[in-house]
Symmetry: D3
């Protein structure tokens, strides 16, 4: 029987011009759905886990369409509260070459912003669950949602559920000070912390000590130092740090490091030609949870997580639509892209 | 030199599934722009008038795209205030046969909601103008916008500018009581009042007196009575009432009546096979203003306005993209739809 | 808690040129999924029932996409057997005016054709269920599937589950003789029989006795006679007959009759402008099951079923994507298609 | 072995906005090919005839694409001269309801305009042929093309090939006087003349004598009189007249009459819901030639020709893509549009 | 007069999601046609040869559409047998970056599988022909097709027609043993053998002797050894081997070698950014046949063939749509991709 | 208040297959508008300048659509003459990898070809203007247009307006001799000359003296020599030369040099992954004019111009749709393409 994972956060309507069109050229917008924790839930459902996503969505058809987008992949949506007026929106313009991608958020006032504690029965939600995941975006929405997030963490801990958190700092949503304060409280409950190169500094003011940051090469010692500081401060079991090198909007290098409290495990680095970069970090989280729940050793775990997110960059939309087998094959070394007949 | 018309209100991003797809089926949404007063401005620009549209829009690319959609047709957008966070949105699902079209509004908190009186220099805006138009939707947004609307009316009157108003009652935006109170104040400044079958009753509680409402045939006496009551109460120079008979989502009959304070002028009735019904009423307003400013007599005016809006129903999007010549040809009696080579 | 309904049959990949393009013009094919019993399951899931669809599908991505198309609407797909090589296909060219729609089947050898009795644990499948539905297409596939269908009927009866069957005769799949023999055996277990104007004659040789068939008007006495004969021969609790008048590929009239063993209930007749006619009959079945399970009286049941299928004709694809409320509104008499804001 | 038919004229690139979009809305244009005589050739190839189309086209890729569009349907393109600079273009905006379709021609200077007599070896072209068809558009292009057309007629007559001509008067291309003079010369060679309601008057000044033209009903006597006058003046074996009643851009009635020198044969009348009206007349010509070459009697011929063109109105693009069987089925009376499985 | 080439095999309907969408995301599938030998026929028709493709296809519209796809490019389809029930299908998901392309075959039971010897009159087919081409896929379909293929080879030899064969081993269709046995028999008739890096080993167990296979560089000596062994065993006049280096799904290097029984000719190597990789090998075959029939010397022949297939990788669909001039220009050294005005 | 810039030339309808489709595959063509001077006007309008574009366009809807495409971006179209019959067209097939892009012009006889001197009141047009820009394409159209261009230069000079010219030699439009003669005359009025690597040689026979042209590296001394010769011969204030290295149709390197009469300023070089290369040179011109009018120093000017055109290569269509801020950010060194949230 599949292991149960719960994620909590906002799912938004993503509106994106086709191909490389700029916003001003678009008379059609691709309409899909996504959000940090929803993306992780879909990843895990595609790997065969029993993944439940928790949020609040309006009762109207746009809210329903968001739910259907999750059900399509087998995500359990039965704990989603219904109510409020709107689905948060983000507009995405895909960049190319030297032109960066652009995201315009229009999420204020969405249903999850207006959620009340009573909307979620965490005890029931965590019944049978083994893992809970959220990101730093969720508590950043507003104080109410942050309080619900804290509720969830406490309930998870009580139920013996492991907790992972992707720091995911967004400066449009809150200040570094506020983030540090709220996330500091939440991180006390977290077992596995995920961050990118800048999150630790932005949220917690943690910088690599005594390292020479040389442009153009991965600063291995710096990342190790940051991971250890994070683990030391919050008692994380594991800290994973993703490393993105942005050559251009089309070409990125991608790798990661996992610290298990003792040792540091660096993954292979992939040179990616990007189809869709959004959700790349979330697919890393989904891969890492799958690997850890699957009992992979640390090196295998970080390789799986990075391979999973490498594949995500080749897929349109926020959701990572790959199977365990596909990830395993890439993690196992076959990156040639040869046709499979 | 072209006569100048000013309209004021909200322009929204319209998101609509292609063809007859339901919301839940759509992974692409047509993205156009529209709104009662913006639609009237585009109509008039297409007829060759110097049409200015006034609103407030955010500085980001979605706000800019709304502006560009107007500039494309030659609408003067130089008086649009920039600021605030979001463009109002409405989702439109096109109905077919017995299945009705469906509109979901997501407009709360848009830039125009947050507009301040200082955003608009009405004296400058009305410089050289001959006509000002707004609809009952604009003051319904909130009290601040209603106050700005009142400012505009006063400034228009001082500048000797004619004012038209389409009552356009929307029960999602305000109650009948509130509408009656606010619109009652505004209508004191209005010269030409436009309404559909139900607006007069909804907003002002004006019902046809002593008439037999026989289902299935146009109740001519009732409309005449309502128009006179409206004119009597507010001193309107002209009252125009549109008459829609909805056979199905695809087929509507469409006609109208104009009261000039003395006589009642009924238009031809068109049996329309609908391409896009939204903006149908606005295109009537645009046609009527064009006809009156063009010096048409009352019968010619109402025929022009109805022909203009009849053509709108054959056009995708909120905007009516027809020329004076095209409307005149239909108003003149050629409704055969024969190919023009 | 929602009532559980089970349906069993084939789900196919439907490949259809866009709009009114002919096959020979199409370099793109709309790819959706559908099949008599799958369509009924989706209808019921959309009405809020706990609908399970049972079939066999290959393990590859096309099989998975068929499953995802069902999960999207909340259909329980956990009892679908996985194996075999292919998903059945049908090509659909939409007709217009005097040009008929055209269906080309390419279903032979699909996974369900190769299903074994062991693929389905009917006892588990019917656990908690209240209704079982299948159509005459399923046993027509081949003898193996017919035998599985008989298994299912027996298991349903043992579990106290009501059984409905839509006769749905397809002459491409089997002869009238063979159909009569196999369906005769299965119908012994059926409680509610659904048929169109010709099925009873094609499958069972049942014709209306002593009636004048007058072209151009609904032959009410004939339908009553056929329904009674069907009920008499097989002991059906209820017999529903749908009546389609095909004016053109675009315009059909649609109504139905329900016989409850005692009385005959005729529905309203709808003049439909067709968006997509395929799945029209299935949506009638879905509506009828919903109404009966919902405890509607016979007149209300037949009105609901016909209104449901009327709406289906306005929706692209095999699946009927309407809510209880939408059907109830139309059945209640509002067929004007007016915009709902 | 298939009978050989030759047609001669211009084939143009047709650029049309999708659906009912106006030109000003289109950022995409459907790109197909068509022209009076090319359309007839495709009709006949689809019926199984050996149809050759003769024209001149540039050597570049747009010219080649025009040829490929014909080869796709099996039209013999081996006699098409290559040279000149451009493919003629026509822009088509599809009308709806009261809004007419609009055609903008951009054909001047196309390769066929610059053709020389030496470009075509008519003796070789007519080798083995039984029929030659052209329309009044071809000689209208310019004097050079008219002279080539006359060459072709003479060569056809010498080779014992039957000649049909669709008068097809286009006032954008030439005056009535010029048309009368040139067509008068060409018609001396013509055996079968095709015209619509107005062509005979426009080109030859032939009006119905002594008839009451009653609006709203087909003026049978008038058509008979015109056909006889045409036959008398030019010695045509057969005269066919098509009768279009334009209710709206979406709805037309369509029928025709054939005069065989002795008797008058009127076809059924079809009420058509139009998908694409362009090429409707050409598909009538193609149907008529097929019927006559197939040895149909006059009534069967006119029914076949009208049914063929009725079906064309349900098909996108200039080309009629229907088989003999499909036309025969409609001509035989099945106009119900029921799904064919 | 153009030289005549005949190819024999299966043509399939290719169904592919747009862009880089995964199967599970696609609600639209690009519908084109292709197959090893059909692709070669189209290449040659585009080069100006008289190319005939022989196969069996059903009489219905999908079969006809496959034929039309070939006629469009001028391929002679007059020898295609009509009958059977289905067109073989393959589903293609285009890979990107580290994610490989995926092909799902659904070809069993297609019309060509059911072909009988009597369906093809090889003597008539080869009348006037100079070349016959087939691939190892065709005899792999089943024993019946293999026998027909042998018939064709014998008839070609008798008619003095050169024969080429692309080994093209597909492990989904047959075992290596079976392939070796059947292909061994057929290769006795073959003059020109085409293979990729692995075919010789898979089909005939021929491996490079005494060579160091160093990863990452082209193993020139090994390819020479394999080519000589192939020529020695079967008496081939020429052996061509294509060399693909797969950097990622987007980026491949491509080159080839030709052995003419005496000397070895290596082509330039192209670094390709891939638009569509399917049909790449077939376009090499088409280029090689064109070059040999055109009398090119060995070095020019292999350069032409590789340039032809390099261009194919930049073109959507199975068919290579390039002219002799375009290939010659690239083979001549202009690979800059500069705009040609 | 925004500075006013005037440009004069032809605007064409651009018809391009989607993605990488070849012309022969396209049944849909993207329909946008562009032309050297129109593109510059749009660039400048997007930067906030008051940009007016002058040309002649037909009165019909295609002409109007060209105007609307400019108005959308705020370009002043009030000086465009209306008349003539056609909008010039160019067909664009986008190349990929080793396959070059292909342009087919169909512009002869367009409205601007038929323009008369009286169509333009240059005195009024230049009222308040600070800059006039044209390219070598405009006088190349025909002698009439060349004469109008000379008129414009004289009027600009009289009005104290700076003049820039992009030599832009097109051998399809005129010979080198003719170009040299006409451009020689016009260049007497020009202040800022823009050219690519080959224009100076093609138009004026100016070659780099005494330099070793080493393939594969930028020949800095040669460019400096050419720029000085140009400045010496015509007295240009500034000469800008763009340097394109074409690796493939997808990948180009792009840089430029500015000579201000004294010193030579070389820009950064960008490695671009191309979305749409057409209009790349025009966007350089637009950037340069903006920088010079904005008072940038020479190094900042050439960096701005190259960054602007680098961004253009990432945007679909002829028009460069970027803001001052976006260009400044890239010119300032951020070419990482990281997502902007």
């Amino acid at each position: 029987m599949a292991k149960k994972v719960v994620t909590f956060g906002e799912i938004m309507l993503r509106l994106a011009p086709e191909g490389y069109y700029r916003f001003v050229q678009a008379d059609k917008l691709g309409a899909t759905y996504g959000g940090g924790e929803a993306n992780v839930a879909v990843s895990l459902a595609n790997y065969g886990f029993d993944a439940a996503f928790v949020t609040k969505l309006p009762k109207h058809e746009i809210g329903q369409a968001a739910i259907n987008s999750l059900r399509k992949f087998g995500v359990d949506t039965s704990h989603i509260a219904r109510g409020g007026d709107r689905v948060g929106i983000y507009f995405l313009e895909k960049g190319a070459s030297q032109r960066p991608s652009k995201v315009i958020y229009d999420r204020a006032g969405s249903s999850i912003y207006t959620a009340a504690k009573e909307d979620f029965d965490w005890k029931a939600i965590f019944d049978g669950a083994e893992w809970f995941h959220f990101t730093g975006i969720t508590p950043a929405l507003n104080d109410g949602v942050a309080a619900i997030c804290l509720d969830a963490c406490k309930a998870a801990k009580e139920a013996g559920v492991k907790i992972s958190c992707d720091l995911n700092y967004r400066n449009k949503l809150w200040s570094k000070e506020k983030a540090g304060q709220v996330m500091g409280e939440l991180c006390k409950y977290v077992d596995v912390c995920i961050a990118n190169e800048e999150d630790a500094a932005d949220v917690f003011g943690i910088h690599a000590a005594n390292t020479d940051v040389t442009a153009g090469e991965v600063n291995r010692e710096g990342y190790k130092d940051v991971a250890r500081q994070l683990a030391d401060r919050f008692g994380f079991e594991k800290v994973a740090i993703t490393l993105r090198e942005s050559i251009s909007a089309n070409d990125n290098n991608w790798s990661a490091m996992l610290f298990d409290g003792t040792d540091y495990y660096f993954s292979k680095k992939y040179k990616m030609h990007i189809v869709d970069r959004v959700g790349g970090g979330d697919s890393f989280g989904g891969g890492l949870i799958a690997a850890v729940l699957g009992g992979y050793d640390p090196q295998a775990s970080i390789e799986f997580a990075v391979a999973a997110s490498c594949l995500k960059h080749s897929i349109e939309g926020d959701y990572n639509m790959v199977s365990m087998d596909e990830v395993a094959k890439l993690a196992g070394g076959d990156a040639s892209g040869r046709v499979q007949r």
